[in-house]
Amino acid sequence: MPDLVIRNLHATIADTDTEILKGIDLEMSRGEIHAIMGPNGSGKSTLSHVLMGHPGYEVTAGEVLFMGEDLLDMAADERSRAGLFLSFQYPFAVPGVTVANFIRMAVNAHRKGGPDGADDPIRIPEFRKQLQEAMELLEIDKSMSSRSLNDGFSGGEKKRFEILQMAMLKPKIAILDETDSGLDIDALRIVSGGINALVGDDMGALIITHYQRILDHVKPDRIHVLMDGRIVRSGGPELAHELEASGYAGIAEEVSA
C-alpha cells in the first residue's frame, strides 16, 4: 500500500456547511514528488491543513491512511510524530522561544516514547551538529538560531526556517504549502536545493503551488490539478507546461467540455 492514501476526502469549514474539499483521491509514497496545482480558492491550502489536522476544518466523508494507519483519527502532534510534515504558507511567530530551543523540543518530541516507551532526548552536541549542517544546506546564518522563532522574520526567512524544521524532523511525507511564494530568485534556488537534497528514499514531498515556478527547480513525478475541491486532471511533469501555456481557464474548459 502507498504511504499516503487519500480516498474520497470531503471537508467543510468547521461548524459550517461550506464544503471546500469535494472528494479528493490521491496516493503517494516516499521517494516521490507530487505537485498539486490550482487557482486561488480551489482548496489547495485546505487540503494541506486537513491532512495536518487543523482544528478549523471538519472532515465529512472519506478516509486518509498514512503508513497504514487512520490519519484522521490522530491529533496534529500525533500526525507529526508519525512522520507527516507541513511547511506552512504563513508560519506563526513564537516570541521569546529561540529557533534552536524550539527545534530541539520538536526533535525530542519525536524521540519520545520509543519502542520501550522511554524518552530519548537528543544529546546537545549531536543536536548542534545536525542543526549547523541543516543551516548550512539552507544558507542560513548561524546567528539566526538564537533569534525568536519567526518573530520579525521576512516572508522568505520564514519559508527557509520551515524547510530547516523539515530537515531536522526528517518526515516521511512533507507537504509544502506555497513554499515558493514570497521567495526571490536566489531564495527560491536555495530552498529548492534544500528540498532536492532532502527528498529521497526516506522522504516524499507533496508540493502545493499556484505557479509552476518552483517546479523548474524541484522536478515532480506527478502533477494534479485541483479545481473547486476536486482533482480534475493528473499527469506527468509535462502537465505543468500545458498549464503554463493554456492557464487554469484552459483546463477548466476542457474539463467541463
Binding site: M52, G53, H54, P55, G56, A75, A76, D77, R79, S80, R81, F85, L86, F88, P91, F92, V94, P95, G96, V97, T98, A100, N101, F102, R104, M105, A106, N108, A109, H110, P121, I124, S148, Q165, L169
Partner: protein, 468 residues
C-alpha cells in the same frame, strides 16, 4: 540553549499546600487590639520608641478606610486573624538547631540545598519569626549585615533607627500602618561601601497556621558603590479560610550602588497578599525590582522606585499569573525627582480559568527631572475567554524635555498558534506552555538560572489542565 525545558505533564496541583502540626511557643489571641500589640513588643524586648511607633501606627490603621480601588478586599476579616505566632524558641544559625518539623518543611522547599549550592546567605521565616539565618563568613568579615529585623533593632539600633520607616511611613496606606503596628521578622541588610555580594541573599517566607497574619518588615541599605541581589520566596498551606500577608519593604541605594530585589511569590490560593515596597535611589544608583506573582487569592503590590539623585536608574520587571479565583493587581511606580534619571517598567501578565490580572502603574516625572527618560511596556496574555485583563497606566509629567514611551498589548492564546506548534510534534499542553514561557522570557532571562527554571516549572504547573 537550555533555559526552556520540556514541560512535565501530570504533576498535579499546588505542591506546597501541605501543613505541619502547630506547636507554637507563643500565639496571641485572634484579632487585634492595643493589648496584643503590647504583648508582641514586650515579648520581643523592644525599646520604648518602637512600642510607641507601633501604637501610633495602630491608631493610623484604625483611622484609615479600606482601599476602595484595586482588588476586592471585602473577604478580609481583621478579627479572625492571628497576628503573632512564635513557632520556635531561638533563631538558629545551623539547620540542626531548627525544630524537626520546621526543618523538614524547609527541606521539602529545597532551601538548605539552594543555600549549599548558590546562595551567599539565607533567612527562613516561619509564621511570625525568622527561625534560621546564615551569612557567609567572608561577607560578615567585610562588614555586611544580614539578619532578621528584630535582631537588627536590638543589635544595631542607631543604624536601624536612622532609616526605619523613612521611605514608607505608617500613614502611607492602611496596610503599611497595619504592618507598622504588628511587624515581626523580615530581613535587615546593610552592605558597606564598595562591597559587592556576587551570590544572592535569599529569604524564604512560610505561613503554616490557619488564619495566620504574616507581617514581615524588610529594610535594606546599600551603601555607596555596593551591590546586593536579594531574593525572596513565599508559600503557604492550602486552607479553606483565608490568611493575610502584609509586608513592608524599604530600600535605600546610596550613590553609585545597585540593588536587585527578586520575588517569586507562590502563596496558596487562600492568602491575601498586600505588600508595600519602595526604594530610593540616590545619584548614579540603580534599583531593580523583579516581581513574580503566581500564587495568592488577591495580590495588590506595586514596587516603587524614587529616583532621587541625578542619573539614577530604576527598573521594574513584573510578571503576574492569575488562575481560577485569583486576582493579581500588580504593577509598579516610578517617580523621577532628579534630572537625567531613567526608568523602565516591563509588565507581563497571564490570565486563565477565569483569573484576572491587572496592570496598575504610575509614572511621575517631577518638574526638576529634566532630560529624564522612561519606557513602560505592558503585555497581557489571555488563555481563555473566561479570563480577564485590565491596564491602568497613570502618567503624570511635570517636566519639559523628557522622553517617555508607553506600549501595551493584549494577546489571546490562539488555537492556530497551538496547532502550528503541534504540527511539529508538541502536545497541546507542551505547545501552550511553550508559548507562555516565550511570553515571559523577557523576565525569566533576568533571573539567575535556578529561579528561571523554577519560574518556568511553576508556570507549566499552572498551565496544566488549561487545555483539554
Amino acid at each position: 540553549m537550555g533555559s526552556i525545558e520540556t514541560p512535565d505533564v501530570g504533576l498535579g496541583d499546588y505542591k506546597w499546600g501541605f501543613h505541619d502540626e502547630e506547636n507554637p511557643v507563643i500565639k496571641t489571641e485572634r484579632g487585634l487590639d492595643e493589648d496584643i500589640i503590647r504583648q508582641i513588643s514586650a515579648h520581643k524586648g523592644e525599646p520604648q520608641w518602637m512600642l510607641d511607633f507601633r501604637l501610633e501606627s495602630y491608631e493610623i490603621f484604625k483611622s484609615k478606610p479600606m482601599p476602595n480601588w484595586g482588588a476586592d478586599l471585602t473577604g478580609i476579616d481583621f478579627d479572625e486573624i492571628y497576628y503573632y505566632l512564635k513557632p520556635a524558641e531561638a533563631n538558629a544559625r545551623s539547620w540542626d538547631d531548627v525544630p524537626e518539623t520546621i526543618k523538614n518543611t524547609f527541606e521539602r522547599l529545597g532551601i538548605p540545598e539552594a543555600e549549599r549550592k548558590f546562595l551567599a546567605g539565607v533567612g527562613a521565616q516561619y509564621e511570625s519569626e525568622v527561625i534560621y539565618h546564615s551569612l557567609k563568613t567572608e561577607l560578615e568579615d567585610q562588614g555586611v549585615l544580614f539578619l532578621d529585623t528584630d535582631q537588627a533593632l536590638l543589635q544595631h539600633e542607631d543604624l536601624f533607627r536612622e532609616h526605619w520607616a523613612t521611605i514608607i511611613p505608617p500613614a502611607d496606606n492602611k496596610f503599611a500602618a497595619l504592618n507598622s503596628a504588628v511587624w515581626s521578622g523580615g530581613s535587615f541588610i546593610y552592605v558597606p561601601p564598595g562591597v559587592r555580594i556576587e551570590q544572592p541573599l535569599q529569604a524564604y517566607f512560610r505561613i503554616n497556621a490557619q488564619n495566620m497574619g504574616q507581617f514581615e518588615r524588610t529594610l535594606i541599605i546599600v551603601d555607596e558603590g555596593a551591590y546586593v541581589h536579594y531574593v525572596e520566596g513565599c508559600t503557604a498551606p492550602t486552607y479553606s479560610s483565608d490568611s493575610l500577608h502584609s509586608a513592608v519593604v524599604e530600600i535605600l541605594v546610596k550613590k553609585g550602588g545597585r540593588c536587585r530585589y527578586t520575588t517569586i511569590q507562590n502563596w496558596s490560593n487562600n492568602v491575601y497578599n498586600l505588600v508595600t515596597k519602595r526604594a530610593v535611589a540616590e545619584e548614579d544608583a540603580t534599583m531593580e525590582w523583579v516581581d513574580g506573582n503566581l500564587g495568592s487569592k488577591v495580590t495588590m503590590k506595586y514596587p516603587a522606585v524614587i529616583l532621587k539623585g541625578e542619573r539614577a536608574h530604576g527598573e521594574i520587571l513584573s510578571i503576574a499569573f492569575a488562575g481560577e479565583g485569583q486576582h493579581q493587581d500588580a504593577g509598579g511606580k516610578v517617580t523621577h525627582v532628579a534630572p537625567n534619571t531613567t526608568s523602565v517598567i516591563t509588565s507581563k501578565s497571564i490570565s486563565k480559568d477565569g483569573g484576572r490580572s491587572s496592570y496598575r502603574g504610575l509614572l511621575r516625572v517631577n518638574k526638576d527631572a529634566e532630560e529624564s527618560k522612561s519606557k513602560v511596556v505592558c503585555d497581557a496574555l489571555i488563555i481563555d475567554p473566561e479570563s480577564r485583563t485590565d491596564t491602568y497606566p497613570y502618567i503624570n509629567i511635570a517636566a519639559d524635555q523628557v522622553d517617555i514611551g508607553h506600549e501595551a498589548t493584549v494577546s489571546k492564546l490562539g488555537e492556530e498558534q497551538i496547532y502550528y506548534l503541534m504540527s511539529r510534534g508538541l502536545s497541546e499542553a507542551e505547545a501552550s506552555a511553550l508559548i507562555v514561557a516565550g511570553f515571559i522570557e523577557p523576565i525569566t532571562k533576568e533571573l539567575p538560572l535556578e529561579y528561571a527554571v523554577e519560574l518556568n516549572r511553576l508556570i507549566q504547573l499552572q498551565m496544566e489542565g488549561s487545555v483539554g
